[in-house]
């Protein structure tokens, strides 16, 4: 997994058989708020402009159906593979995994990181059909920060 600074800028690294995009951002909100936003499927599209819809239950072992603005005609069927409250969430399919992690930085803020690695032996064949993720990742992180901080600041 790539190490990134928590500035909301996405980075992508490529090899012949894989591609990995990562973004990290510091958020002035409790991890529990961010975790709740990330695990409430039906509410996702309200605050996240990169997601058209998520149906299903975001819980360990469950399968969710995700439609993203990156490819609105396609529904991704994803399995929730790891689910550690307020810390780590992983979902994915045979092509790759999306890993969300929450940690604390020195200022006491929550650092949200999101990494997606896709790849495999067939990757070179379909790589050119997969759009770049960077802009979408940055938007995801910015939307999450905005929503979580506005909740935290509410009275």
């Amino acid at each position: 997994m790539s190490a990134t600074t928590a500035n909301g800028k996405a980075t992508t690294s490529k090899t012949t058989f894989s591609r990995e995009t990562a973004v990290s951002i510091a958020i002035q909100a409790d991890a529990s708020i961010i975790w709740s936003l990330l695990t409430n499927a039906s509410d996702f599209s309200r605050w996240n402009s990169t997601v058209i819809s998520i149906s299903g239950n975001i819980a360990l072992g469950e399968t969710i159906n995700l439609v993203s603005t990156l490819d609105p005609k396609r529904t991704f069927k994803l399995k929730v593979k790891e689910f550690e409250a307020d810390k780590k969430l992983v979902w994915g399919d045979p092509m790759g995994n999306r890993v969300y992690t929450l940690s604390k930085n020195d200022q006491g803020h929550t650092v949200f990181s999101m990494v997606e690695k896709i790849g495999g032996l067939m990757f070179p064949l379909f790589a050119r059909f997969i759009p770049p993720f960077d802009a979408s990742f940055e938007q995801f992180a910015a939307d999450l920060k905005k929503e979580a901080e506005s909740i935290m600041q509410a009275n």
């Binding site: 909100a29 529990s32 708020i33 709740s36 309200r46």
Partner: protein, 267 residues
Amino acid sequence: MSTTHLNTEFEQIQGQLKSFILRITASVADAEDIVQDTYLKAAEKIESFRGDSSLKTWIFSIASNLAKDKLRAKKRWTEDVTDICKSAALSNPQFFQEAMQIRHSSTQGAFEIKEHIAFCFTCIAKSLPLEQQICLLLKEVYDFKVAEILQIVDTSEAMVKYYLHTARAKMISIFEGRCALINKEGTCHQCSELNAVFNPQQKFQEEAVKIDMVKAAEKGDKEHLFDLRMQILQGIDPFTSGAAELQLHHLEHNRKVMESFLKKNEV
């Protein structure tokens, strides 16, 4: 703290408490039982009450826990509850016969648009996750502060803020899409339809524009419209208002319809 203190406080807040529980459960019988059980539990534990919160907050937390116990195993209602229940009512002539009898014979049988707005909110709020519904009612209708709500629902301040924010956003979005009183494109016209049934001599538009929320609809400030909707709920006690019997009859109908609907559609 003594039982005398408890009795005095309970006497003062029991109307509010009962309406709060009714709005959570949508059941008159459950509201009555839970209020009674809340008193018994509070009386049993009053000597261990340390004053970490106000007595009112403590009583609401007991009631809230009892309501949660009652509802935990039950499925949440769906956003289109009023459509489902309307269709059930239309195929059940007995519902309208009973309602009409209440309308003409009861001193609490008036049909008022404001009362129906409050009733409708109670039904649709049952589509929210239970914790969100409870927090939203406590804050927006019963005027509790976040610091008090976290004591009542026994969670962190961050989570209360999350529940409040998400619940409010969700309800605003539902009413924006459905409520024809605030949005000309809204799909639900039950206020005007029922007003035509129960108050056939009345001109609906003339009555509706007397309501602040309807007056403010043209400006389209969704947050403000929601605040005005909450003011309507704050001003109505569903057990004592002039429309109470008619609306409670309607609520009982909707609860039975939804329980049966959810059972039939169980996954």
